[in-house]
Subunit: 331 residues, 2 copies
């Protein structure tokens, strides 16, 4: 399933991988289509290819009461889905919104959340086409996003050896905000914003897909974990230079003291791309077109599934547990 | 929103109607498209029109632990969505499945539920294209179904005065099954089946759309409530003959003693159509093509929103609360 990997830890990745494999083998996707197991599903219409993805935001799993306003709940749920479209190189088209709301949720909250989704859809050139409201004991927001492709989709499986690993924006801010909340502290507004109003990298997805990116994945489960999925799907390995991960000052300070918010935190809705080395010289120009910084963080190797995080001296860096882990299962 | 009316009671219908109106006015659907407020959203592609709908099944709101097997959870969640496609006259194409599962849910349950959805999709000519798994304290199943239209969609707003009100199958069985469970009794297998393995009336939807039906609505919130939505959308009224509602023996026995499972129960995933009177003579033939019985239960009138349930003597029948109501908010 597109976002099946959002349940981390335990044997669940393995279980989901097997479930996707069973679904694919019992019902192989038609030529030009992509079934469960990538950031989004792809299916052909005579008008071109559509991408569909779905993702949920669940109270006490993905956020806690009081962290986010109603508007921000809508924006974060949208970003989770739009980021999957970005990682396929797709442009959003239609949005469906399923809300499960406790009886204590006010009509004002419901309306503010819904209008935030509708307005964000419109900002991205899409439409909130429909949805559903149900009662439940626990607030959850499930969005299905449909996107259109103007070029072949960026899959997890398209990377080869000796390509550049490139990430958008900066990593670790949202996970650090969660860590601070969970520690009883209040994140600074800029840090809080990265969790509460994340920006999906839609322009980067379509610009880099057209420029020749070979693969991409939404890294909201954490860079190292999601890079692992890309490597498995592509049958390659990777070396990531820990020092080259793009960080805000706040994350830099923590990671310098031994944390791994940038490598391990996730939650930022940045996207990882693989690019042929020939595009290295064009990166600054491409970043301008994407409207977001692009950082080379390492390269792919021919060693299947071997992922190394190297420190400043080039030695393997043992990954620390990020502050986020004690929030429990992330997704 | 397509299924926004699934929260019944209180001022919620009014709230949802206003929310849909606000969404529609801030972002009017393009020509040939249908926005929030019908059974499904319709949008145009150059390959034809697609219909999208989404619906959730939430534990302790739509079912209780022990009522349904994992497979049946998948089948009932599918029926809820396919029934909305049926009521638009659409044919299922792609399915997305979002599961929110407590940690206590076994991998076997997750797999059985997912495979039931995939297999039901395939039986209906569709594909489980993707999905998402999240943790949560409460089990819920949210499905998004995409369908294709081979003719203009059947909307709630298309009915005129003096048309036939026609329903598929029989009414009240699923609500009676719920009533029995909630009363500590065990429904007979045939009754239980109507709740656990409901059949969406997809063939009826496409056959009657082609035959000239003017409007349709999924009546899983109860015949009278959903007929109200159709009448409001079409600016008409309706008279329903209580005696002519199609019932199983079990429901007939209860309703003869004063219950209104058939008129009020819902949960069956039958569909209500309006047909021009000229089709009356063709009903038996059409029922054969639909593969399900079709019953004329009354007619539309020119009195906006006036809905009358008439008894055997032609007098207005005051609706009793069905056994289902004490299950709380249905949706």
């Amino acid at each position: 399933m597109p976002d099946g990997d959002s349940i981390t830890g335990g044997g669940e990745h393995e279980f989901l991988k097997n479930l996707c494999a069973r679904l694919q083998s019992e019902n192989p996707p038609a030529s030009g289509e992509v079934g469960p197991g990538d950031d989004g599903a792809v299916f052909a219409t005579s008008a071109g290819s559509l991408v569909a993805t779905t993702d949920s935001l669940v109270e006490n799993v993905h956020f806690r009461e009081g962290w986010l306003s109603a508007e921000e709940l809508g924006l974060r749920a949208m970003a989770a889905n739009l980021s999957d479209l970005a990682a396929m190189g797709a442009t959003p088209s239609k949005i469906l919104l399923s809300l499960i709301l406790p009886e204590t949720t006010s009509e004002e909250t419901t309306e503010a959340l819904t209008m935030a989704v509708a307005q964000e859809a419109r900002r991205q050139g899409a439409t909130l086409a429909g949805g559903n409201l149900s009662r439940g004991s626990e607030l959850s927001i499930t969005i299905t996003a449909l996107g259109v492709l103007e070029q072949p989709p960026l899959l997890r499986s398209g990377a080869s050896r000796d390509e550049l690993l490139v990430v958008t924006g900066s990593l670790g801010d949202a996970a650090l905000a969660v860590h601070l909340w969970e520690s009883g502290e209040t994140p600074d507004p800029p840090l809080r914003e990265r969790f509460a109003r994340p920006k999906a990298r839609l322009r980067a997805g379509s610009v880099l897909a057209r420029a020749g990116a070979t693969a991409a994945i939404d890294i909201s489960d954490g860079l190292v974990a999601d890079l692992g999925h890309l490597c498995r799907a592509s049958g390659i390995g990777a070396i990531v230079e820990r020092e080259s991960l793009p960080r805000s000052q706040a994350v830099d300070r923590r990671d310098a003291m031994g944390s791994d918010f940038a490598a391990n935190g996730g939650e930022d809705y940045e996207v990882l791309f693989t690019l042929p080395q020939s595009l290295d010289k064009d990166l600054a120009k491409l970043a301008g077109q994407c409207g977001i910084s692009l950082s080379v963080i390492g390269k792919t190797t021919d060693q299947p599934e071997a992922i190394t995080l190297s420190d400043a001296q080039g030695n393997p860096h043992p990954l620390s547990r990020s502050g986020f882990d004690h929030f429990g299962s992330k997704s």
